[in-house]
Symmetry: C2
C-alpha cells in the first residue's frame, strides 16, 4: 500500500482531544507522515474579519471569543510530541470544512473522535459519520467513551 | 495510547479486498497486533447447518454456495503476508455480525472498505458507516474509488 503521507487530526477542544491526538501522532510517526491539526468553529457567530473563514492564528483580533479559540488550538498543538505541519482554525460546518481542507491539502488520512450513535452524537450530529460519508481519503474514527460525552454536558451546563 | 492488539479486517470478496487488506496488515505489523479476518454472508439463504450462523471453515458441507464462499475466505487469508489469528465466515447482517464478533473477541480496530456516500453505497447500504455507528472500538474506513464500485456492477451483470 502507499503509506500515509499527510494525516489530518480533527480536534473539538473536548477532554478527549489528547486521546485522539495520541493515536494520530503514533500513526504519523510510524508512517513518517506530516501531521496537521484542524478545528472548526461552529459554536460562535461568524467572526467579522477581513480574512474570510480561515482564521489567521498569529495576529491579534478584537474578538475575545476568537482569541480564546486560537489559544486553545495553539495549546493543543503545543501538547503534540511532533510539530504539526499546519494548524487550521476555520469557521463553518465541521463535516464540510474538514473535507474541503483534506481535499485541498492532499490529506490521505483523517483522524477524528467518534461517539458512536449513542450519547451526544444524536444531539450534536456525528462529525465522524459525516466525514466518513464525504471523505475522499481514509478515515480513522477513534471511539470515545460515552461517559466522557455525558461529562461534557455537565461541564457546559 | 494503548496500541492496537487485535485488528479485525472485514472483507467482502470484491476486487478491493487486497487494497484494504494491505492497510490492515501494515497496521498489524506496526502494532504487533493479531490480525483476524471476517466475511459476512448476506447474499445467500441461511445455510441449513447444525452449526448455527458461524460457518466452520474446514469441514465439508453439502451446500455448494457455502463451499464457494469458504474457499474465497481461505484464498483471501492465504494472500495475507501474516497469518490471521482467526477467520470467521458468518451468516447475517454485516453491520450486526461484525460488531458482535468485535465485541466478543476484544477487537480494538476494525478495518473496512468504504465507498463513501456515492456510488454503490447508496444502493447496497454502507457497511463502513453502520459499523462506525455501532462499534465499541476504533474503525478505519479505507476509502475505495467509486470507479471500482462501478466496475463491480459490470463484473456481476
Amino acid at each position: 500500500m502507499a503509506d500515509y503521507q499527510h494525516i489530518l487530526l480533527a480536534v473539538d477542544f473536548s477532554d478527549e482531544d489528547t486521546y485522539v491526538a495520541r493515536k494520530a501522532e503514533r500513526l504519523a510517526t510510524f508512517f513518517n507522515a506530516k501531521l496537521s491539526v484542524i478545528h472548526i468553529l461552529d459554536n460562535i457567530p461568524m467572526p467579522d474579519t477581513a480574512y474570510g473563514t480561515e482564521i489567521p492564528l498569529y495576529s491579534d483580533s478584537p474578538y475575545e471569543l476568537l482569541e480564546i479559540e486560537k489559544n486553545k488550538l495553539i495549546h493543543t498543538a503545543n501538547q503534540l510530541t511532533i510539530d504539526p505541519t499546519n494548524l487550521w482554525l476555520i469557521w463553518g460546518k465541521p463535516e464540510i470544512e474538514i473535507i474541503r481542507i483534506a481535499n485541498r491539502e492532499d490529506i490521505d488520512l483523517i483522524v477524528v473522535g467518534s461517539h458512536g450513535r449513542h450519547g451526544l452524537a444524536l444531539l450534536l450530529g456525528s462529525t465522524a459519520s459525516s466525514v466518513l460519508h464525504h471523505a475522499q481519503c481514509d478515515v480513522l474514527a477513534v471511539r470515545l467513551q460515552d461517559e466522557w460525552a455525558e461529562s461534557t454536558i455537565f461541564a457546559y451546563s
